[in-house]
Amino acid sequence: MISGTFHTSYRSDMALRRTWLERLRLGLFIAFILAFPFLVGKKPYPLFLMNQIGIATIGAIGLNILVGYTGQISLGQGAFMAVGAYTAGILTARFGVPWWLTIPIAALFTAAVGALFGIPSLRLKGLYLAIATLAAQEIIIWVVTHWDAVTGGVDALVVPAPMIGSLRMNTDFRFYWIIWALAGLTALLTANLFRTRYGRAFIAIRDQDIAAEVMGVNVFAYKLLAFAVSSFFVGVTGALIAHYRGIVTWERFTIDVSVLYLAMIIIGGLGSISGSLFGAAFMTLLPAFLTNLGRSLRGVFPAMDEFIPYLQQASFGLVIILFLILEPEGLKKIWDDIKNYFALWPFSY
């Protein structure tokens, strides 16, 4: 039984994983990720779901940097993702840029667009900023659907398959490694970001912007930076979607996507990397679970098929409301509670 964590050196005090138990859990998780494709025998459906979770995790971490850590509400996630997806798609399809190079380019371009639409945060916060980003969402998607010469308008943009040598990479099994490598990198970068002055400035702005300003944090510059960093990862998500699916359409990036990602970080846990992962997994698996449930009930209720989309939509709304009322700190809090229970077991109360 551990009565507490006592560090005897700065090195151990500042480590990302401070106890052997934390390191063990991380090791187990990484081992699981590495073994997963083989555990499921390379079957496409579980791999597809896992890839969805990986892509969503990157996007959720990106949004969490902005909303959870810096406290700036954004409803523009879907549109920023569209910027990333279209940048990557257009560069590959029209200009023949190698696909792996389009991912960082798309991320940087999305970061620039994100910072541009972060400018209203100079004057606005809370509710008003949420509405401003909602407008950004609508305006960007309008531009995407009406700028035919560049984006192809409402028609789908076909992206050539990503190749390494003669290997086509966007199969479920091969892309799995790309997605989860990038997800791991994103998590590592973000965890380290909040150990630097930049990350701490973000948190200071979230907790009390006036106090942060008094302490010498340039609030405006750091808010823009938060928008840029957040959009960077969102751009990665968009680029990955473009290459994985091989097709980019505006319908994948509507306001519903912004809401979905906000739901992920709220259900997972605001201001937490593992929370982003939990939320991404939960919001990806819930509709999949309902679809399978509906299919298996088809024999009992023949009308089930047309009911499934409504059921997904209803449970989406219901889950958000229930989490907000019953567990506002999300799955992360539940996970922490479990850990704390066992930390003092059998004397926990």
Binding site: L127, A130, I139, G317, P328
Partner: protein, 290 residues
Amino acid sequence: MDTFIQLTLTGLTNGIILALAALGFVLIYKASDVINFAQGEFLMIGAYMLYAAIVQIGLPWSLGVVVTLLVAVLLGVLVERLVLRPLIGEPIISVIMATIGLSSLLQALVRMIWGSQPKAFPAFIPSTPVNILGATIGADRLWAIAIAVVMMLLFAFFFQRSREGIAMRAVADDQQAAMSMGISVKKVFAWAWSIAAMTAAIAGALVANIIGVGPHLSHFGLRVFPVVILGGLDSIPGAIIGGIIIGLLEAYVGGYIGGGLNQVISFIVLVVILMVRPYGLFGQEIIERV
């Protein structure tokens, strides 16, 4: 000139209906500082209720309207009691997300009951074309303007004269002071939500009469944002004037410039207003420098 009058009339009707939808939105914000992302769904449910009462159950018009309004009140009170009250004192993002979740839930329920196909609304107001200054406009649109204006006058009367209206203004002004004067803030919140749902239902019925009943009616929920920001989030006259301005603007841009710009012009205006004058034309000015 004819086009101009035509566009003005169309814009005016759209604007008035937008204003009616925005009215409930502003009311909720004023009373309880909550942004209601489910306002569009309230509007949609109102239209569907009227449809159900009249077409599916076969009630006469007058009774159908009464039933619709009663259901709207019930919906408003339930939402306030079950979703918003547990979240009092929570951060803004929680409240925003709760109403977004609510909109998703209501949308799904409506689709489960009535399906996702739009339905023709039995025209309870004749749509015979009327000639005004050389432009033709459906009589239903004129009626919509008239009904909306009557509604707004009733509103003004309610807020100026009735006991509940005055209590509501007091709560909007200062919750603690109102509470210490013996006003039940909880009751006022319930009032605000039920009145908002009622105006939304009326707006929904008016729109449905023009474009039919369908899940697409909930799009009005997003179109309300430019209106309320332009007019000022906490200003009722602002919602009305903002609605008319946005309605006219969309009509003129659609008529003279085209290219689909009318779908997005209001959001561009919204961003500009937020940058220049976040409190809108008539909103209360709150200055905070960081």
